[in-house]
């Protein structure tokens, strides 16, 4: 499995099921914030451990971000969802959710968790339904507020080597709100995903 390449058909199918899942998540977010969420084309990649940080830094030109991650596991698939927010987005989001007054770090955290609950929850639910899986979600963990994007995953010391990554950059129409949802699947989940998708194609 060490020289495993991501097969085009799998990449395409994953992009498509993610597209549908994130569409549902976007719909919920749009209803919560009463705005239109611009849907991008998700990017599917197989990343080496050493490439993850590079990929993260290329997500954002700004240095200061806040992020939440949440593990998920089920049907022999496991991974983590990472939601990364531009710190400059909070003012606009606070306005959309009609928080009044100063946007304190406490309010930012509430907003971050609210949006993480929706985007991660709905996206995983959408994936699970399409692929006929069930996931347990762990408690979300705050990776940091106002930190360098490079510092987000620096402390990870578990033995993973490579991961299947699905990157979904969300934007809100007419607002300067930028956030990225990253789904990271462990290497041994790939075969299972492949089988599930194969099953869908038949």
């Amino acid at each position: 499995m060490s020289d495993y390449q991501l097969d085009d058909e799998l990449r395409d199918a994953l992009r498509e099921v993610t597209n549908v899942a994130m569409g549902r998540a976007a719909d919920l977010l749009a209803r919560l914030l009463d705005t239109y969420v611009v849907l991008p084309i998700p990017v599917v990649n197989l990343l080496e451990r050493s490439e993850l940080n590079m990929a993260l830094s290329s997500l954002r030109s700004v240095s200061s971000v806040s992020a939440v991650c949440q593990g998920f596991v089920g049907s022999r698939i496991s991974g983590e969802a990472l939601l990364i927010f531009n710190d400059t987005s909070f003012a606009d989001i606070a306005e959309l959710t009609s928080y009044s007054g100063d946007v304190t770090p406490e309010i930012e955290l509430e907003l971050l968790m609210d949006i993480a609950n929706i985007l991660i929850g709905a996206c995983l639910k959408g994936l699970a339904e399409q692929l006929d899986l069930t996931f347990s979600q762990g408690q979300p963990v705050l990776l940091g507020q106002h930190v360098n994007i490079e510092d987000l995953v620096r402390n990870s010391s578990s033995g993973w080597q490579r991961a299947l990554t699905v990157e979904i950059p969300y934007r809100l129409e007419g607002h300067s709100v930028d956030c990225d949802l990253l789904l990271l699947f462990t290497e041994d989940s790939i075969n299972v995903l492949e089988n599930k998708i194969h099953y869908l194609m038949e």
């Binding site: 209803r31 919560l32 929706i118 929850g121 408690q139």
Partner: protein, 318 residues
């Protein structure tokens, strides 16, 4: 055993599990009436199911922040999407005592919560299940770690002898102030000073007396400046101050005050007896011709040398 009996048996052990599981399970109807209350809830709150079931949640827990809770539950119900809250957002949903009242260091139980929409067979959300996890140990560890990190960070900024900022941190602050000055309305000024004939004082009275003097001068600095000013020690007998939003004329007045305070300072050294020193100071306001923050420092440094040349114990404005 009949099917009914075996269903009943299954129901019994399922209820048993729900009762004994070591997480809090609370189910409320959409009108906030409590539907379920397991042993964890009973034991930690001291409220029996008889006093909780069918009661309004906010009457049972008057301290529960209503607005926050209703915002969370509304989102969960409307979007049919579960929500998680962490102790970092809110240390607890319901105030329970720490699980370890004797050896624990926290006063209360830190909690993570999961809000789960419970639907009926028609797919409508009828009630809300809230699961409460005790995460006190995890929270305490993380808070402790954050405190330690903050302390280490602070320590790495300070000069060990005087407690003023060390040169590298002070210079970083100056760099920032230099960038800020480009669009600031008010001028910031810089003071650099050193203790006159300090080498002599060291040679005659020993390094311990010298260190003693440095600490006392640092104390004078701390007492004389405002909280917004940034004092640093450059190593040796050289000190520097950033005075944000302070025009050069005001900076000269502050420098003059510092000079007088030090001049009148008498340090009682056990070995050497009473010691007195004077300082020479250079002041420089920000100027648009500076290209780098170092240019600013050079300007203040040159003013300091003019003070030395003018016979010491005086202030020169660049």
């Amino acid at each position: 055993m009949s099917t009914a009996d075996s269903n009943l048996a299954e129901f019994h052990w399922l209820m048993d599990v729900l009762q004994t599981i070591d997480v809090g399970i609370l189910v409320v109807r959409l009108d906030n009436r409590i539907l379920a209350w397991n042993s964890f809830m009973e034991n930690h709150s001291g409220i029996s199911p008889d006093d909780a079931i069918d009661q309004d949640l906010f009457e049972v827990f008057p301290d529960l922040p209503r607005e926050w809770f209703e915002h969370k539950s509304r989102t969960v119900v409307q979007l049919k999407n579960r929500a998680f809250t962490t102790w970092e957002q809110r240390p607890y949903l319901l105030r329970f005592k720490n699980n370890r009242p004797i050896t624990g260091s926290a006063e209360f139980m830190y909690q993570n919560c999961t809000f789960i929409p419970v639907t009926n067979i028609r797919g409508e959300v009828e009630s809300l299940c809230i699961i409460i996890y005790d995460v006190t140990d995890e929270a305490i560890n993380k808070l402790e770690q954050q405190r330690t990190n903050a302390q280490l960070k602070e320590l790495s900024r300070l000069d060990g002898l005087t407690g003023l900022y060390n040169r590298s941190y002070w210079e970083k602050q100056l760099e920032q102030e230099f960038r800020r000055q480009k669009r600031a309305v008010q001028t910031t000024s810089l003071i650099i000073f050193d203790i006159d004939h300090f080498k002599q004082l060291n040679d005659i009275n020993g390094h311990l007396a010298g260190d003693h003097m440095l600490r006392q001068v640092a104390d004078v600095v701390r007492k004389t400046i405002r909280t917004s000013d940034i004092p640093g020690r450059f190593g040796g007998e050289e000190f520097a101050l950033i005075l944000p939003d302070t025009p050069p004329d005001d900076a000269v007045r502050l420098a003059e005050r510092l000079r007088e305070q030090v001049e009148s300072l008498v340090v009682e050294d056990e070995q050497a007896g009473p010691l007195q020193v004077t300082i020479s100071l250079g002041v420089a306001g920000w100027h648009s011709r500076y290209e780098r923050h170092q240019d600013w420092m050079v300007e203040a440094d040159q003013a300091l040398y003019r003070s030395k040349a003018a016979g010491r114990n005086c202030v020169t404005l660049a």
